[in-house]
Amino acid sequence: MTVANEHQQAASEVLAASESQDELALAAPAIKAMAPTPGRPWWRRALSVTIGPFVVFVILLGAWYFITFVVLDPTRRFLMPAPQTVVHVAFFEHADLILLLKGLLVTTQAAMVGLAISITFGVTVAIIMSEAKVLERGLFPYLVVLQTIPILALVPLIGFWIGYGFTARVVVCILISVFPIMANTLFGLQGYQSSYNELFSLHRVGRWKKLLKLKLPMALPAMFTGFRIAAGLSVIGEIVGGFFFQRGQLDLGALLDEFTARLNGPMLFGTVILASALGVAIFGLFSGVSALVIGRWKE
């Protein structure tokens, strides 16, 4: 290596180093927002993140007790049983717990099958639409219309056509969850700067290769947003379906209907808690997968 070369390399190293400092300075606000001041022990950081939700939880619980014991007359207390009653009846009475857990299992199965079909179908249709503009222009208006029809209006019709069992509940899941997947994937496949397309055109990259190497990876963040929204919706869809259909194994929706009819407050609340816990769990699952797949590079 010549002296001049060495000099140049040293200079470029200094350059790169000083630029990386710029970069740190630039990134600092972002880091602050995510994981605060470096040097603070981990438990204080954890505390600062969890303290807010905890306070809100305590306030909500307080409001619940207030309504149960202060607002409601003892004869009407079944409308909003105290938290410990709900927990005791729904989760500590063996027979009741089994009933709820079976419902949870049935709901989870149908919702997951529905979601899986929604993802496969939604992503496929979005890819086809993004590759063939004619299809996009022709199909998209109807997909929007499908989305605007109240799901409650469609549910009886679905029962009418394909029965009231598992399949029908899965279909309700798909109807309610497929649109956000399709719309977000389509947006992701098209929503990047046009210079990326030019970059690939310059090297005359074929359509298929471009889809795999550019469009699909670029679309991943939007796709995962769609999956997360759809995950919550699929649980709602399953429960709405079960609430109406009341056939086959009892899912959480059917249980909701039954406990309402029997004025069983604690079990009704228990069912609601399990249903929302399932929604949160599926949402969390997709957030986790999303962080694993795109967390390292997502901007």
Binding site: Q8, Q9, A11, S12, E13, L15, A16, E19, S20, D22, E23, L26, A27, Q193, S195, Y196, E198, L199, S201, L202, H203, V205, L214, P217, M218, L220, I294, R296, W297, K298, E299
Partner: protein
């Protein structure tokens, strides 16, 4: 330096010999929406020549690059340009966010179907030329604007282009970074001597980098004039303060003000 003058040359007299890399032969271009962008452009870029194009915003400077690279076909006239061996640097770094710096730099070698080892060797070489050693495994989101641009330069240089097209590449970075990147580009050019078309808004940048500055008019753009900058490469940053350089920069500014920029 090029003694060729655009206004006197007729298409039939064009000498497209081995010394020429790009020829615009009476090229006019109109966009599909009817906007006329370029009018009767005659321009020759020789092998190893660095040409800056300067002109008012939105005058169609970028269209010149898109025509040269074959991304666009002119509505009238002809562009003679070998499509192999072109490096294109866009206004934005246009890095693939899901690939590391190394992965981005390997991209074009991958398109060409080169082996994994060969790709890596070429990419590492390109990264060392722009001073990005040690950043191979970083993702673009962790880089500063200047470093993203360096990665973008490395990506375009990976296959050793004979024609380098740069579309206002340093417009978005701060002034200090911009000067550094200019010095680095001079270094790269001095070594590899690729023919270059560099689009910019900045008179200082245009003159410091180029053998020849081409000044364009408002849209529909035609060539208002050219100024030669016969200074040797590599150019020292102090060149900016030499009287001859300043005089020629003034000439470019004067021509540019004719354009109404």
């Amino acid at each position: 330096m090029s003694s060729w003058s655009q206004s006197k040359t007729k298409p039939t007299e064009l000498a497209i010999d081995d010394s020429v890399r790009v020829v615009f032969d009476d090229v006019s271009h109109t966009f599909p929406d009817g906007t006329e962008v370029l009018r009767h452009i005659n321009l020759t870029i020789k092998k190893g020549e660095f040409v800056s194009i300067i002109g008012p915003s939105g005058c169609g400077k970028s269209t010149v690059l898109r025509l040269a690279s074959g991304l666009l076909t002119p509505s009238a006239g002809r562009v003679h340009c070998e499509r192999e061996g072109i490096g294109f640097v866009f206004q934005e770094p246009t890095l693939l966010p899901f690939r590391t710096v190394l992965g981005n730099t390997e991209l074009f070698a991958e398109f060409e179907g080169l082996s994994k080892d060969e790709r890596r060797r070429l990419a590492l070489n390109a990264l060392s030329r722009v001073g990005l050693e040690g950043f191979e495994n970083k993702y673009p989101k962790t880089l500063s604007g200047g470093m993203k641009m360096r990665a973008s330069l490395a990506r375009s240089l990976v296959l050793h282009p004979t024609l380098f097209l740069l579309d206002e590449p340093f417009a978005a970075v701060d002034e200090i970074t911009r000067q550094r990147l200019n010095d680095d580009l001079i270094g790269l050019f001095s070594r590899d001597r690729f023919a270059t078309i560099f689009i910019t808004h900045s008179v200082a940048e245009a003159c410091f980098l180029a053998d020849r500055v081409v000044v364009m008019s408002r849209r529909p753009a035609s060539i208002l004039g050219e100024v030669e900058l016969p200074f040797t490469y590599p150019r020292h940053p102090d060149l900016r303060f030499q009287s001859d350089f300043i005089a020629r920069s003034r000439e470019v500014s004067a021509k540019l003000s004719e354009s109404g920029a």
